[in-house]
């Protein structure tokens, strides 16, 4: 009886273990299928020309498959959005973890969560119908659908990611560090800038990287708001065509398993590599510089 229940228990454990592997299996299948469908683009262009080719004219004859302007578009929107989201996200996190009273905390935290829950298509739509005309009217530019508008929307989409992860990091700084600093006569602000932020810097860096990863992979916003021109932008008000926008916009028209189809899957691989390496770096930082209390200072 006893051995019997023990062996059932072991069987159950291995079933759960198999199920827990599902996430890795999916991740593995994603890369396999992206490569299976996308690798054939290398029969048409070299890897170098694909990544650094300056022209993306997939439907002209002969077609040009250079995703350099798309990569630059993605990087530009991500960087500009980070300029907005990092300060706002981290400052909100500091506010929530250090400054806010319990009552305000209970109000602000759900607001940030709801901001994260807004569907991306709604934010894209908002950027199209509200922000774009506003920019066009007030900044005297050709189109309101541009890099700046997309970055603004992306910024607000990545604030919740940055904020919630940073807040966890700040919150988990041991209380004795804070008390020691205050006891030495430091003000609350000095304690925050000299003790709490340095102690939680690894968590905050992880947050920032994951926030940027979210911004570079976000699709609907850049599809609707970025303007869609496959050019290397010269000003912040130029329209761009980031990687996800190109995939989403063209997949419907690309002939099944043609060159264009393969090129879009290959673009997906590039995007996947971007976010994958962002996540690996974030994971590395959070493990290597794990907060182990006082020793991190």
């Amino acid at each position: 009886m006893k051995t019997n229940s023990r062996s059932t228990d072991r069987a159950i454990q291995s079933v759960f273990f198999m199920i827990a592997l599902a996430s890795i299996m999916i991740l593995f299948m994603i890369s396999v299928f992206l490569f299976m469908e996308g690798i054939s683009i290398l029969n048409h262009v070299s890897l170098w020309d694909f990544i650094f080719g300056e022209y993306w004219y997939p439907t002209s004859d002969p077609p040009d498959f250079g995703i350099y302007p798309l990569i630059i578009g993605s990087i530009a929107t991500t960087i500009v959005s980070a300029v907005i989201s990092i300060p706002l996200g981290v400052m909100t996190a500091v506010y929530l973890a250090e400054i806010a009273t319990a009552r305000f905390r209970e109000i602000v935290k759900p607001i940030v969560e709801l901001l994260a829950a807004l569907p991306s298509v709604v934010i894209g739509f908002f950027g199209m119908v509200v922000i774009a005309p506003f920019l066009q009217d007030h900044f005297d530019i050709a189109t309101g659908l541009n890099l700046f508008n997309a970055s603004l929307m992306l910024g607000f989409m990545s604030i919740p990611t940055i904020c919630s992860i940073s807040e966890d990091a700040i919150y988990s700084v041991p209380n004795n560090l804070k008390e020691a600093s205050l006891a030495l006569g430091a003000t609350h602000l000095e304690t925050i800038t000299r003790v709490i932020l340095p102690a939680s810097i690894s968590g905050i860096s992880t947050a920032v990287i994951l926030g940027m990863s979210r911004a570079i992979g976000e699709t609907m916003v850049v599809l609707m708001v970025a303007g869609g021109a496959a050019m290397v932008p010269e000003s912040i008000f130029d329209p761009v065509r980031p990687l996800p926008a190109s995939i989403a916009a063209e997949m419907a028209e690309a002939p099944f398993r043609g060159e264009h189809y393969a090129a879009l899957f290959a673009t997906g691989i590039v995007l996947f590599v971007f976010t994958f390496s962002f996540n690996i770096v974030a994971d590395y930082i959070s493990n290597k510089y794990r907060q182990v209390g006082d020793s991190t200072l």
């Binding site: 607001i111 969560e113 901001l115 709604v122 995939i247 997949m251």
Partner: protein, 319 residues
């Protein structure tokens, strides 16, 4: 005698002088510290105000988006809008097929992802011992959470639609969305499991229950409300996503409601995108776009708000 009193006097004088000097010194330091302190206090209050403002910006952003959508779209919300299919090449009529489609997709996704996600979380939190395997599984989950939504779309197209020959269908879309919402469910289930005190487990094991009995009869029931909250968040995430269903489930227009999992369908987020960018009359259908956006926001934010309130209640009960 005299001598000694002299010495005493001198001593006293010296002490006094030292005292005086110290006093004036102290006063000096006091003054310095005073001005320094007011400066520090001012700086602190200025910077704290900036922090407060940046927190307020989030609320402001949420408010603006919701305000613009409702103020422009509320007049589009009528009974016909909610219960009729689109007519006149999507320039009039309602969005019933989109609502049904989104409900089918997100419920389908959660039916698939919920058991897998909960089981994964049970393994991670109850069975797994720290080590290389656990690190790899966690890394996998974190990376899955970071995969861009459009890449999920490509994967769904290549794997479910083409390779498994499901065609553009509810099933393919729901499976794709399930893969995407898996990390959300695992994360919130783990949080719920962690919140169950270890004394529960110890008491059950101490009474002679096996590990599985303990998990199934003690830990899971205690964590269930938290796990369900995670399920709600998973549904709302799946309901709001567009890119994963663009190539796997959703179509521009179909007048029929789905009758089998292999039907293609319309969905709210995709409908907004189509009307706003590729509709026949983009300007003339603005109110329909706003109206659809309101329905989607109400659906998604409503579920989230319910989950948040419920969770807050739970936490209060637990602590």
């Amino acid at each position: 005698m005299n001598n000694s009193s002299d010495v005493n006097d001198a001593n006293q004088k010296a002490t006094q002088e030292i005292n005086n000097a110290e006093n004036s010194n102290l006063q000096h330091v006091d003054k310095l510290e005073f001005s320094n302190n007011t400066f520090k206090k001012m700086l602190q209050s200025i910077i704290f105000t900036i922090f407060r403002c940046s927190a307020a910006v989030n609320g402001f952003a949420l408010l603006i988006v919701v305000y613009f959508m409702t103020s422009n779209g509320l007049k589009a919300i009528t009974w016909t809008f909610l219960t009729q299919p689109p007519t006149d090449s999507m320039t009039k009529g309602g969005i019933l097929p989109c609502i049904v489609g989104t409900v089918c997709l997100s419920l389908g996704a959660i039916l698939i992802a919920f058991p897998i996600g909960v089981a994964s979380a049970i393994y991670l939190n109850e069975y797994a011992t720290p080590g290389k395997m656990l690190r790899i599984i966690r890394l996998g989950i974190n990376n899955l959470a970071g995969v861009p939504s459009v890449v999920f779309g490509l994967f769904g197209l290549a794997f479910f639609v083409v390779w498994m020959d499901m065609g553009v269908s509810i099933l393919a879309g729901a499976l794709t969305l399930a893969a995407m919402s898996l990390p959300v469910i695992i994360g919130s289930t783990e949080e719920a499991l962690r919140a169950v005190p270890d004394t529960y487990r110890e008491a059950s094991l101490g009474l002679g229950a096996t590990k599985w009995q303990t998990i199934f009869r003690v830990v899971l029931p205690a964590a269930m409300p938290g796990i369900l909250t995670g399920g709600i968040l998973g549904i709302s995430r799946a309901a709001g996503e567009t890119a994963p269903i663009m190539f796997t489930a959703a179509v521009f227009y179909t007048p029929y409601l789905p009758s089998s999992p292999f039907d293609e369908i319309m969905a709210l987020p995709y409908h907004i995108y189509v009307l706003a960018t590729a509709g026949t009359e983009i300007e003339a259908t603005r109110h329909l776009q706003y109206g659809t956006a309101i329905v989607l926001i109400a659906l998604v934010l409503g579920m989230n708000l319910a989950a948040i309130i419920y969770r807050a209640k739970l936490r209060r009960k637990m602590s």
